[in-house]
Amino acid sequence: MNFRTETIAGNVAAIRADGRLNMVSAPLLREVVSAAITAGTVRIVVDLSGVDFMDSSGLGALIGGLKVARQAGGDLRIAGATPQVALVFELTHLDRILQNHATAETAYRD
């Protein structure tokens, strides 16, 4: 699993993730989100289009990131959820809290 962070239009930090978001990689995602916020970008989108698998520790890291972003006056959104990732969101009802957007670029278009 690796994460790349880039700033996209609207002063949004897009974190692109690839691989499995599990108990090994979830702590790293928490750090990457915190680093973006510490660097001053509080609007975060996690692009999950390269994540072929996510478990409950991945969910926990996203919820943790959402809380940190909101505390900083920002938000965390998700984009590009693949079918397995969407299933996990749906079963845990967290699709109500973190709605999926088609792409990182459209996540803050509201």
Binding site: V24, F53, D55, S56, G60, I63, V88, T92, R96, I97
Partner: protein
């Protein structure tokens, strides 16, 4: 599809959850007729269960663990046996924590993804079994 039984023995560390998932995927890819929802559900449940075993049973010292997967035309099932300390496991219906909780969803998720989850302490080992009925072949 023919019946298959495949077993992995692992020690943590250095093995970790990626070792488990690589194994699960290798086993399931031999069964090309498993529909996506069955594959996603079973793989996710098994990774959740193995993560739980690695995380909670290790108590800082590492564990050895034996994982067996059985697949046939009707069912996918798995058994995980580990040397971790005895866990206080309560299996009631799936109960999710509050929306903004950052943990506590694993066991509930497992129960939603498979048809049966069973835990027992046998001698000095914790033994988990899960099974999911497959969608009928077209």
């Amino acid at each position: 599809m023919t019946d298959s039984d495949t077993t992995l023995a692992l020690s943590t560390p250095p093995d970790d959850i990626d070792t488990v998932q690589d194994f699960v995927q290798r086993v399931l890819e031999h069964h090309t007729d498993i529909v996506d929802i069955d594959r996603f559900a079973f793989e996710t449940a098994l990774v959740e269960l193995a993560s739980n075993v690695i995380q909670h049973a290790a108590a800082g010292t590492g564990i050895t663990c034996v994982l067996s997967i059985h697949a046939d035309d009707h069912e996918l099932s798995a058994r995980i046996s580990d040397t971790g300390t005895a866990g206080a496991v309560t299996l009631s219906g799936p109960a999710l924590p509050e929306d903004l909780a950052e943990s506590g969803r694993g066991l509930a998720l497992i129960q939603m993804l498979v048809d049966s989850v069973h835990f027992e302490r046998t001698g000095d080992r914790n033994v988990w079994t899960i099974s999911r009925a497959r969608h009928p072949l077209p």
